[in-house]
């Protein structure tokens, strides 16, 4: 009983975080802001859903696959996000007009000198 309540609460929170992250992906003005909002889909959204599924199922066949999925998501998604951000900055996509500072560019210029 308590296990079902905790699992369903985790799943609902995960779906809500997914929805909010996708809303950020739609609304924010810039590639980097969109990346920062949409990576929240991973750590609390889909990982929350998977953790809720693990709490509901316990140590069964399904549960171990879900645990492997959590580990896999946590390892791969920041790597992909970092690669995309670096590539988009190097390929010359501009920041939005309201942004104040661009630290990556300053570091890069210092290295070249």
């Amino acid at each position: 009983m308590i296990r079902e309540i905790i699992g369903m609460a985790l799943i609902v929170v995960g779906v809500a975080f997914d929805f909010l992250g996708v809303l950020g992906l739609i609304r924010l003005p810039d590639v980097y802001n969109r990346l920062q909002a949409s990576t929240k889909c991973v750590t609390f959204g889909s990982a929350g859903i998977l953790l809720g599924a693990f709490v509901l199922q316990g140590f069964t066949n399904f549960g171990f696959k879900v645990l492997i999925g959590i580990v896999f998501i946590f390892l791969t998604s920041p790597v992909a996000a970092h690669a995309i951000a670096r590539a988009s900055h190097r390929s010359g996509i501009k920041l939005t007009d309201e942004s104040i500072v661009d630290l990556y560019k300053e570091d890069h210029e210092l290295k070249e000198e």
């Binding site: 779906v15 996708v22 889909c41 889909s46 696959k65 492997i68 999925g69 988009s88």
Partner: protein, 120 residues
Amino acid sequence: MSNSQKIRWRIFRWIIGFIGICLFMYWNFFVYFAPIYFKLINVLFFCMLFILFRVLFGPTPADRIIAVDILGVLTIGLTALLGLYYNQSFFMDIGLIWALMSFIASLAYAKILEGRSLDD
């Protein structure tokens, strides 16, 4: 377009989006009669519509790459919910393979976007 006109258009767009999301949530949670898993799956499909909008009309290529990456992450949650409802464990296999493919694809897209070829 003048500045006040632009602000008015932004407020109009905001209100249209808010009403649309409220209508969908009302239909999904109070009218549509189904198990709770199907309602949550409907919310995920609604998110995927937004992501497809970003894939189709993204201003820069990086936006499209981010959107496809997040589509893969949402699909894992979708397969977990489907597997919970049908009590079958092979749905998670589909999710894991989808996540692996999406990870490799986004790395390759990032490499191409940076201007390098795939074999250096």
